[in-house]
């Protein structure tokens, strides 16, 4: 596309691709898809309210430099009181010496360098240029596999640590396979140090939750302003499986786009998607979700809540697709937003497409301000206005936060919420 050639990053990525020799077919296919689509513009319906073009203007360097990161650097990103297996990735690459946990008989955690063919084919690249780009060029990531019937008692805490003095474009690729009857909890933290370069993260995660397996994924996004996150996550669920996704986005990272697809490939599955996004300053936070009900008797429940301060902008697009075959589907979706400033904005779009006739589906979307009666009630008891607001924000977020069943993680999230409060009114 002619407009793309003006972006130096496009030229750089093309150059990196062209320099490779013996490129596997799936990568060729993916890169061709990216090349024909280019980076999305606001003319693309999926990116209508999220203009990534201004975020792609800078010069980037080709190679992601190897950084020396110590346990001291990781410390601030640990979760207090959390009993977990620690896995550290530095700029998308598994760092075994910083990780306290390696593979054992129940779970295998290895670097991912090539995307298995079935996984590459599973993703549609249509309107998904970032995922195509990642598939074509990814060089690192994690491959986590939980053996059948294995219950991993402690959650894995994966810290995605990013550091660079140059502007870099990082494309990690992860796969999580939870085999039959197995159970796994993963907590992912995005950690950004104080280095000066822009880190553009274009990541893809694919999860396979097999029959009667349970997988809970908690994602915490609280990077620094010079970090840009574009994530594509796809979870494929088999019979009787349970998949929970929690996505928490806090002030910091200037651009966050989470695309979360769940494919209910077999019947009688259960899916819970919870999101809490707190936007401040000039942040742009976009959550696009798709719940793809393909088979009968599946339950999906989605609750996303947003708090927007300053000039923050949020996008929520929740699509629920119920195929003709997916009778007896229960699909619920709710998106509520609290707008704290006149300059903040939110675009919320529930999108239900239902082709089965015996289903229970609901959706709701709200944007509101503080309830003045509640604020007055708290203040009339001697509580400072800022504290009262903080209490009300905490109360608004409560519906999502209370769903976190790991106590230390829940406390950590509450702390992150409270820490940020005072800055929002500055």
């Amino acid at each position: 596309m002619s407009t793309e050639t003006t972006l130096p990053i496009y030229d750089l990525l093309t150059e990196i691709y062209d320099q490779q020799s013996a490129v596997p077919e799936y990568r060729q296919k993916a890169f061709n898809s990216f090349r024909s689509q280019g980076f999305p513009t606001i003319k693309n319906e999926e990116w209508k309210y999220t203009n990534v073009q201004p975020f792609l203007k800078e010069q980037y360097t080709a190679a992601v430099t190897e950084a020396t990161v110590t346990t001291e650097d990781i410390k601030p990103f640990l979760i207090k009181g959390l009993d977990a297996h620690l896995i550290v990735l530095v700029n998308g690459k598994l760092n075994k010496s910083l990780s306290t946990f390696q593979s054992d008989v129940l779970i295998s955690i290895e670097p991912l360098t090539e995307v298995p063919g079935y996984a590459a084919d599973s993703i549609s690249f249509t309107n998904n240029a970032f995922a195509a780009l990642n598939t074509a060029l990814t060089t690192s990531g994690l491959f986590i596999e939980v053996k059948a019937n294995a219950t991993i008692n402690k959650p894995l805490h994966i810290i995605h640590y990013y550091t660079s003095d140059d502007n870099v474009f990082v494309q990690p690729r992860h796969m999580v396979c939870v085999h039959k009857n197995a159970k796994l909890d993963i907590i992912e933290s995005v950690a950004r140090d104080e280095s000066k370069g822009i880190v553009w993260v274009n990541s893809v995660t694919q999860a396979y939750v097999e029959e009667n397996a349970q997988f809970s994924q908690y994602v915490l996004q609280n990077g620094a302003a010079n970090t840009r996150l574009v994530n594509f996550t796809e979870a494929v669920q088999h019979k009787y499986s349970l998949y929970n996704n929690f996505t928490f986005t806090f002030p910091g990272t200037e651009l966050v786009r989470n695309t979360l697809h769940t494919r209910l490939a077999e019947s009688a599955t259960e899916t819970h998607l919870y999101g809490l996004y707190i936007g401040a300053d000039n942040q742009l936070i976009d959550n696009h979700t798709l719940v793809d009900h393909r088979k009968p008797n599946c339950l999906s429940n989605e609750l996303y809540k947003g708090v927007l301060a300053g000039h923050a902008k949020a996008v929520f697009n929740g699509k629920v697709y119920v195929h003709q075959e997916a009778q007896k589907t229960n699909a619920f979706q709710q998106n509520n937003n609290l707008q704290l400033s006149d300059k903040a904005s939110i675009n919320s779009k529930p999108q239900l497409e239902i082709f089965a006739d015996d289903v229970k589906c609901s959706h709701g979307s709200t944007v509101g301000q503080f309830n003045p009666d509640a604020l007055f009630y708290l203040r009339s008891r001697g509580i400072e206005e800022a504290t009262a607001r903080a209490l009300l924000i905490g109360a608004f977020a409560f519906d999502v936060v209370e769903k976190v069943t790991i106590p230390a993680l829940r406390e950590h999230i509450e702390t992150l919420l409270n820490n940020n409060m005072e800055n929002w009114y500055a």
Partner: protein
């Protein structure tokens, strides 16, 4: 000229009492509508005043104005509380100074726990009053003690603030807060409304136990019923934004018997 003033009724009090609240010629409007049209009222420490009157007379507006609710604009007059001008004070500062409003309709706030709310309020108020913060043990002890006072179900303390509480539980929660925060002046805005006779007795007992020489109560009510339980020193009748009659507790009985219509007629006559 009809002069609604409690002063003339309290000669013996004047010599040794402390004036807590003085309202002088108070005019208040909401948006462009004048709601209060010249209220005069003095409340001294140790006193209980009842303010009665028909619907729409301005009773709750007076309570809201005293507590500092947004939208109630004082256009004329003054409110002096404990020697300080209340009008320009933020609601939280009024509360810390010792003004407490028991709400007619306590707000339900899902997600804010009752206990956390009490703790936050109490610690801010104690800090303002120069008192050391209560430790966890001290706070628990105080909460338990005050809970018993209003026979408040301990289970409710850990629930979200007023969420799913019955009408009686909400009103008891108001009195629990009152007991915890220990204000100088408490304004009870139709605390009796929606209460059954048992709840009314419990709430009234709580208030009676909290009465002292150092605090004062203003009870806003429609009905004489509440005043059987909390016996006021003075009764004022508010009508059309003014106090049109003041008296002792017998006035409440008279109102109960005659209703408010005779007052309306009387004010019509006075206007002529």
């Amino acid at each position: 000229m009809f002069t609604p003033h409690s002063l003339s009724l309290t000669p013996y009090h004047l010599e040794h009492t402390i004036t807590m609240l003085t309202i002088k010629d108070l005019h208040v409007k909401i948006e462009d509508k004048e709601i209060l049209k010249g209220i005069n009222l003095q409340v001294n420490a140790g006193e209980v005043h009842a303010i009665m009157g028909p619907n729409g007379s301005g009773k709750s507006s007076l309570a809201s104005t005293l507590a500092g609710r947004e939208g109630y604009e004082v256009t004329k007059g003054e409110i002096i509380f404990d020697g300080k001008d209340l009008i320009d004070m933020a609601p939280e500062v009024r509360a810390r100074e010792g003004v407490f409003l028991a709400f007619q309709y306590p707000v339900e706030i899902p997600g804010v726990s009752n206990i956390n709310f009490l703790k936050t309020a109490l610690s801010e108020i104690r800090e303002y009053r120069g008192l050391p913060p209560l430790d966890a043990k001290g706070f628990l002890k105080l909460t338990k003690e005050k809970q018993q006072l209003v026979e408040f179900d301990a289970k409710l303390v850990n629930r979200s603030l007023n969420e799913g509480f019955s009408g009686g539980e909400k009103k008891r929660n108001e009195i629990l807060q009152l007991a915890m925060l220990d204000p100088k002046l408490s304004i009870l805005d139709e605390t009796d409304s929606g209460l059954d006779i048992d709840a009314l007795r419990i709430v009234s007992n709580g208030v009676n136990k909290l009465r002292s020489e150092n605090n004062a109560f203003v009870l806003i009510t429609h009905y004489q019923r509440l005043l059987d339980y909390i016996v006021p020193d003075f009764v004022h009748v508010l009508y059309d934004g003014r106090i049109v009659k003041s008296g002792t507790k017998e006035l409440a009985l008279e109102l109960e018997e005659k209703g408010y219509d005779w007052l309306k007629d009387k004010t019509q006559l006075e206007k002529v």
